[in-house]
Every structure is written in structure tokens, then in C-alpha cells.
Subunit: 460 residues, 2 copies
Amino acid sequence: MSDQAAPQYPTRQLCDFLARLTLDDVPAPVIERTKDLFLDWMASAIAGKDAPAVRRIQEFAAAMGPQDGDAEVFVDRRRTSPYFAALINGASSHVVEQDDVHNGSVLHPAAVVFPAVVAAAQAEGKTGAEVLLASIAGYEAGIRIGEFMGRSHYRVFHTTGTVGTLAAAAAVAKLFGLDAEGINQALGTAGTQAAGLWEFLRDAADSKQLHTAKAAADGLQSAWLARAGFTGARQILEGAQGMAAGMSSDANPAALTDGLGTRWATAETSFKFFASCRHTHPAADALKALMQRDGLRAGDIAAVTAHVHQGAIDVLGPVVDPRTIHQAKFSMGTVLGLVAWYAHAGLGEFEEHALRDAEVAAFREKVTMELDDEINAAYPRQWIGRVTVRTTDGRTLGARVDVPKGDPDNTLSRPELEAKAIQLAAFRHGATEAEMRTIIARVWQLEQAADVRDWLPFAR
Amino acid sequence: MSDQAAPQYPTRQLCDFLARLTLDDVPAPVIERTKDLFLDWMASAIAGKDAPAVRRIQEFAAAMGPQDGDAEVFVDRRRTSPYFAALINGASSHVVEQDDVHNGSVLHPAAVVFPAVVAAAQAEGKTGAEVLLASIAGYEAGIRIGEFMGRSHYRVFHTTGTVGTLAAAAAVAKLFGLDAEGINQALGTAGTQAAGLWEFLRDAADSKQLHTAKAAADGLQSAWLARAGFTGARQILEGAQGMAAGMSSDANPAALTDGLGTRWATAETSFKFFASCRHTHPAADALKALMQRDGLRAGDIAAVTAHVHQGAIDVLGPVVDPRTIHQAKFSMGTVLGLVAWYAHAGLGEFEEHALRDAEVAAFREKVTMELDDEINAAYPRQWIGRVTVRTTDGRTLGARVDVPKGDPDNTLSRPELEAKAIQLAAFRHGATEAEMRTIIARVWQLEQAADVRDWLPFAR
């Protein structure tokens, strides 16, 4: 069936756009932002070193995969086949909860798109420009598919696992230079493998790392199979027995084609500044701003009220006495305590101080959350942060931040991204500062790399 | 958490049963039937040789997996790691549509359970008795989970893909000797990967082979990870964000524990007599019976109405103009046409006549399906076949078959199973009759095999 004769269902329109897309079509700021996202991802993937869930997946790959290959594994600097490199790098990308997020789709694109693209690109000697273009294709597709699947999907399914499989497939299919029909086949094969349920949260189980691992690896597999002629359902998203029919009750087909070529969803993606649950970030920003503006120190603060949206209360409310570092990332009192005492709540602050400091524990007792109608009405379009502070000398002070740090309108600068990347790499000694400086320099020039095969500074 | 302190949710009760199960608990006829199912599966897996979808998966495994290993691939007689052996043998098991089916769960257990068990058993030098016990555990678990997920699940999801992942996981977890908690973890990891949508049927796409491939391989992976300490959601089936919450509207938790230790679901499994979708078999049996009874020939038939359950309409309804032999197996008109013209719809009839004969194509136009309330109410516990035939000379004739050929009450004898196995193996020259005679003799003695590592007669 020729492209011309193909029926124009929404998935195919998306595939047509992806097939035609060239870097010349992409505004320069979007390309620059993609490099920002790429660096932020690499650092997250390196920071996942030694996490138990990631180690188990490395052991599985060692037992089932080849002992060498063309694709690099960031956490152990070995090489293996692209499938297993995507699997392990996908697992390690998400575990420290510092990777990017797209608000509207509630998708973490970096953790699924980049592991697949880099592994496939290394195996086939692609250029940096091809890596960037493929990654943008993955972001543009994945974000729209996430929006298409809707909020009903996210209530039960971990969108980064389900939709992430298609995002990775779209990206690698573009890397392989497939036409619209080929990309469509890749999406069909990816969609029929799309999985990931939130039930694991109840047991604090390891599934979240498997979701990103499998999304990246199965997405790569789907594109590989599509190139080889293995076929999948064309209307895998909107069809009568497709993803939306099975896993959504509020799917919106118009989202699949929303602003193709004019709206760059890639650039809407947010960076995480604090190493904690995103619902804590607006209040943390507001407290930090207030303390800087009024010259307060942690000891000056008697009480903090965080004015929040309902979702923050739902997720963070139950966490009153955190017992693990991961759980502390869902404790508003801990996050504000770290910000008050250390001016930041990054990986290092959580590791060193979240559970060990008596001051931080005491600060937790000073923090309360309060539902704010205006903030709640603006969510999730806008994540407004507002705090009221009572000082030890009896003053009442307030501060508000309309756009939390890391969102596109208050994004991280390149120096901030570089500092975050170096900190992430240092977290488990995944890479030295010198290595990260090399990586950073290469990422800022990514579109000029002639071949990414041995491009990353992790020697065999 | 000790087993004693564990809350007794249905999934855990199922896991407790599986952990305690020994071959001594299993009635001898059930063990014998399991060997029947094992032979029937091996022959199906061999018959998948050279199918394009299977070849693509072999090529993927060659590109991504190791070049040697402990587990055998039936279609090319190579060895690789258990993950890839399960993947390829899972793909090839289902492609000729001759593998077994459990009516009540609409699950094809063989195609997902045996590939995973055999691959893992070969890698770890397990005995034939351990293979049998693990396989029975996989059947008992998978069938109950399929029944739990209900008819609403099957309307959109290919249960053998979704539930098959858990069936394979339960089987390999049992093979590994995991306790109830370990089996529960394996199911949690399998369930959060469970996927497979029917949408592919509309395009005659290759996804069905990927579903069984992935279910077998990911089930094996889930058990492997659980043994290594990787955790999953305990209430992956019945939990608020588990499989039923996301993918069913009529889940029945009682099904998970139905008759544990007294009802042997394994022995309820049906063999396929025709080489087509099981939903076509009852009507095919009824038409065959009618033509024999009334001495009709194909040319005497002006029209056939197949009175069917809703599931048949859901699955077969979209297939009006089959373009591939595989798709023709889902065409009621084609199957009835083959039965009318050749008195059988086996592998050979599909290969030679399904798409080539003008008579069969013309017969398709004479066949319609009609929902029958009584048949629909009895389904899926009973698959009743009923047809009404209008003859060219104006008569209206009817026939009904309450138990289609291959069901436990109308099962295949061992001579019939042996003949079917030899035919399947000969289909693409996958194994010679002499090789199959060796396999058959070994299967009938499976419980006595001391080590299945080099047990299959496919020399390296």
C-alpha cells in the first residue's frame, strides 16, 4: 500500500509528520533544548549506578545477552547488544527520580527515548545530528500519544512504561530512516507490547525501573522488527481493539496530531531541579525565594505553611515519618527542611541529611500543608508555589512562585544543567567531573558529531 | 514478611498452592494429559519453522542475543540463552494455529508455558519430573488467571499474550523452586509487563507470534528476576491499580482460587483438530457432521449460517477478505469452505487451497455468522457448534455439535496425537518422522528423564 493510498487516520498523520521531519524543520532553540535534555538524561542514567533494581537487570542481561557488542552501558562501562544496553540504560535513567517530565502527558520522555536511540545509534554508527532528530521524533510522538491516552490511563497505568514503548519505537524508527509506513508498523508492534501498572507503588516494588527498561528495549526491538518487515497493527492507538479501547476511557485522537510542525512538545519538557517528588517543588521554590529575599536562616523559622493543590495533599499527605531516603522524597517537611538548612534538596542533601539530621527532623514538625483554591484551580496547567512563614521573632512573611524551577518558562540554565549533571555523576561515582566535562562539551556540539559509536568517553 | 503473616488475598492463595504443589498431589491422568499437551506443543513449535514472523524474531535474537548457550531453538536447532530460546520457541509455537487451548480462559497455555519451562530447564539441568510439575503449575495458574480476567478482557486483549506472561512466570518460578512469596514476586513482575492487543488482526499483522514469544520470554525473565530479589506488586491481579483495574470490567477474584488441588484445569485443555482459530471449530464440526449425515457435497450448499457466541464475532468478524494463509485461519467462510470441499481444514488444506481455490473463495460469500443466545450463554465453558444450511435445491438443514473434536470429552487419542505431531513436524521439514518417533517415546516417559539438558534429539 503506497503512502498516498493509505487512509489518513490520526496515527498515520503522526507517522507522516515523523517520516518527513528533518532537523531543518526544527527551530534552533528546540534543538538546543534537546541537547539540554540529552545531557540531563545521561547524568541521570549514570546516577542509577549501584541501585539494587538496576543491578538485578544488569545481572539478567549478563546471563541472557552477549558479553560484548556495539552499545555502551553507562553504569558499568561494558558493551553489549543494543537491546540490552537500552534495557540497562533505561532502568538506570529513572531510579534517582531526576530525569525530565512533560507535564501535560505525565510522561518522562528522556528515560525511554534516549536509551533506545543511543544504543541503536552506537550499533549503526549514526551521526549526532541523526541522534538529535530521532530523539526529537520520539519526544514529539511520545508526548502526543501520552496526551491522547488521557488522565484515565494514568490513573492505573504508568504512562512512561506504556506510552514510553511507542516513544522509543518512534525514535529508533526515525533513526533507521523508516518511511511513514515503517514508522506505523513500529508503533503497531510497540503498542501491542505496551505495559506498566502503578500497583507496584503499594509495595514500593522495583517495577518502575523495569518499566523504563522495557519501554526503551522493546521500543528499539519494535523499530528493528519493523525495518526487517515484521508487521504490526496500523491503528494501534485509535483502533477498535487498540490501546485506547483497552486502556483509556477519555482518549482524545485530536491530541495525536495537535500542532504537528508548529508546536514543539519537546521544548515543553521540564527539568527536575530538586531530587524529590515534583509536588514538593513549587513550595520548595517559594521557601527558597522567601529566605533569600528576606535574609532568613533556617533557625529563624518557627513554622511554614505550604499552600498546595489537592494532588500534593493526596500524594504527600500520608508521608509524615519517612523511613527511607526514597520515601523522604515524598515528605514536604523533609524537602522544605533541606531547602531551609542547605538551600537545596538535591541527591547529596537527601543522601547526607534527609534522615540523619536532627535539624531536618525538627523542621518537618514545623511544616503543614494547606489546600489553596486558586493554586488548585490552576493545576495541572500551572504548578504555583506559595508559602507563609512565621519567624521566631514573630513576623509573618509570604512568597509565591508562579512557575517552578525547571519548567520551560523558568528552565535550568546551561551552567545549572552542567552543575546538576556533575553532581548526578558524582553521586555513586558513576563518572568523574573530568569525564562529565568531556561529555558536556560533546553534548553541546552534538549535531556536529560524525559518528557516535565511540563518541562517549567510556573506553571499552 | 513470613508466609504465615502474609495477608491472604486471592493471588497469594494461588501462590501458596503453587509453592506447595508436588507431583504426588497430581492425579495420574492429569500427568499423562500433560505429556499429551507437551508432545502436541513440541510438534507445533517445530511446525513454525520458516514462517516469516518467526524468521524475523530469529534474526532479532541473532542480532541481540548470544551465539550459543544452554537452551535449544527448535526451528533452527541452534542453542542460545534461555531468554531467546523461549522467545523463538514461543513465536513458533502458535503460528500454525495447532497448539492447545483452554476453553474457559480462552488461553493457549502450551505456547507460553512450555517454551519458558523447557528453556529454563535446559539451562539448569532439571529433570523431566520437574519440567512436568512446573508446566502443570503454569497451566493451573494461567488458566485461573485467564478466567479471573473475564470476557471483557478478551474483547480487546489477546489473553495468551497478557495472561500468558503470568502463566510462564508461574511455571518457571515453580521450576526454580521459589516459595509462595517468590512466586508472588514473579507474578507481580510478569503482570506489570503483560500486554497484547487484538488490533493486529485487522491488518493481518505479525503481532500474534510476538505475543506468545514475549509472554514466554518475559515470564521466564520475571521468574529469573524474582529469584534474584527483584520485587513486584503482590496484588498485581486484584489490586486497585493492578491488571483487572486496568484491563477488565468483569474480573472474578474467586476464579483465582477455584478448586485449587481438586479441580485440575490442565486436563480441561483442548487439542486443536483443525488448523484454524478455535472459534471456527464448533461450526466446522457441525458442518462436517451435517454433510456426512445428509450426504451433502460442497456444490449442494447455497448458504451456511454459523450460530456462534459473541467472542467468535469479535475475533472473526473483521476478517472478511483474508490476504494471508494465517489470516484465512480467522475467516469462518474459509474454514467452512475447506471443510465443505476437502472434509478437513488442516495445515495442508490451508496451504494448498485456502487462498488458491476459486471454490473456497466463492464459499466464503455463502457463510454468515449469527449470534446465538444459548450458545453465547454457554460460552466459554462450552463451545457449542451449530449451523443452518440452505441447499441449492431449497432445503434448510441444521446440525449441532455439543463437544467439538479435541475437547476433553472428545479428545485426541495418543495415536491421533502422534499422527498429528508427525504431520506438524513434516509440514516445513522441521523434523523427520524418525526424529519425531524418538521425541514421542521420550515424551511418553518424560517423568523418568534425569536431565533435560541434552534430552531433545536435536544435536548441537
